[in-house]
Amino acid sequence: MTEPRFEPNAPRRAILAGAALSGLVFMVGGMARLLTPAEAYAADLPLALLTDGERHALEAVTEVLLPGTTAAGIAHYIDHQIAGPPGDCLLFARAVDVALPYAAFYQSALAAIDAAATERHGAPFANLSPQARIALVTAMRDGTLQKWLGPPAPFVFFVLRNDATDVVYGTVAGFDRLGVPYMPHIAPPTPW
């Protein structure tokens, strides 16, 4: 079948200059640097709010939701955003009426995931087998976990799946991985 092509007779888009924006500023060796979350992950920069346990749970559960989140810097992205002013926040949680502070949502959600994993399997989520991880995420999605102590499990699934999508495919680099032309009017301040 011939693929239709849409080629409007429009003038070429102009990349407009954006406002002076902070971007994602990470501290590296005492110096402020604009980095992508993936770069921050590769540099193994310390996190501001998330504990090691929360980080491991976040990386493990989002890897189940969408492979590639860890290397894309999911932990550094979430940590950076929940540590900043809510008015500057870029998180999906903002758009779906998660109550402030956003850190409390993530911390309680990750604690609930680890508690559910421990209750089922005697170990935190990051230590579970691949099959057990998938089973637990399925139960989160379906709301069938008997003991769940955090925000509603299907909502946690919904938000974290969107976070995973944001870091893997919601960026200039992510569009490129999908083969979708980005075509910005005003380009984001960082290419992630």
Binding site: P11, D88, L91, F92, L178, P188
Partner: protein, 524 residues
Amino acid sequence: MVAALEPVDVVIVGAGICGTMLAAKLGAGGKKIVVLEQGPERAPADLISSQLWSRRLKWSGPPVETAGSDPTGYRFNTGWGVGGSGIHHYAQWPRLKPEDFRTHSLYGKAVDWPIGYDDLRPYYDQVQAEVGISGDHHAEVWRPPGDPYPMAPLLTTPQADMLAKGFAALGLRTAPMPLAINSVPYKGRPACIYDGWCDSGCPIGALANPFVTYLPLARQAGAEFRSSCSVTRILTDAAGKRATAAEYYDAHHQRQIQPGALIVLAANGIQNVRLLLNSARPGHETGLANRSGAVGRYFMAHLAMPSSGMFNQDLQNYLGVTGGALLNQDGYGKYRPDGPFGSYTWAISSARKPNDIIGIANTEGTLFGAAYDRFLKAAVRGLATMMGVGEILPKAENRIIYGDGKDAFGFPAMKIVLSADDNMRALAATIRAEGLKVMVAAGASQIWAPNDVNWQHLIGGHRMGSDPDQSVCDSYGITHEISNLVLTGTGIFPTEGATHPTFSSHALTQRTAEYVLKNWAGLG
């Protein structure tokens, strides 16, 4: 005791679509205007083409809780900063239809508006000429009388063409969506280039956002915009008969009193209700202008029922406009002998980016892992979508009330309570079923649609009406009890039809501005 600031003619609360438009119109009429905006100053350079960065354009004020059996989202429907939600709205500008104004007279349902379509038509026409709409009034067979659109329709996309075949195969009609987006240069603004970033804001100004419509006109007319100013109450005279000032906290959290001869609430409907409730005082014990008890009641949203189909072709669904290239209103007839009551509209072939609420990701909400990854990679090529927008009727128990939290100044935060009734669910199911049939008829290899009731738009909460015992304000938005207190926006709608509400808000605001200028001496 805080000294009052210098009095002005008009104090407008909220710098969104209605606030900027009124500021432009009343300012041009010689009135001295101050506009108080809770969010920050904004500029077109803030409209970054990104589903991540554009989240900064959404509400970031005091939390608004959502409740009821079918709660609606709040922040998604709102704005934050000068320009309000107009900055990121999709510019779908169909008109309400004559029957939308007469639901009670024609069908014995809900209430009539105190005005009819003929009363509003001239203002639709005026705004249409001022702002510019692209469309085809011949093809749009459901359109009520009105001047022809000043611009030809935007181009359709492969996605739109594919879905149009599905409608046609079922004997249903499609027409270009009337869009406040330029198909050709119009009044100094460029034409759309179909990059599909409307949802993140249109910095080139092809889409009629306040930056390129009424905000510059308001500033030219001398209106003063004060951003990061949180209005907490409307103050009244000793008798409670006149509004005297807006109380607010400035960017430094200093309390200020801004007197004005006319006070206009042009925040969104939820925030307008907040201010009326916060301003309770002797003589207005349950809230300002609330003798009827209607403040906060009869809240509505639109049913938002998406349908999706996967096609074995590259539909280039990242191109076009977020609002959709086409519409169908064959389901607009409200009465069905054997079916649910209410109108619906299809907004067809939205441009979609991979992520975010309206992104490709959330058209399918259950997959994860490798299956989800495969879905995304297929859907960026072959996904086609459309949104069914359905009417619900106002019910007193769907309300805007105080929530449990407090804002930064000690006033209660708000809560929206919304529950669907059997008719609403049945209409949602009707829309869903038709959407899936269209997808099959269009040749989709997979089809799906959510079963849950979803919502968009925030409508009602301080409705207009002829009866002061049943409504808060008249058709100009002037409250029944305080003649120099004016309400604007979708909050004054008594019923909602099944049309996107922004154009109707513009027309109503245009009518209010004209009335206020003509009757200035009689207000207050």
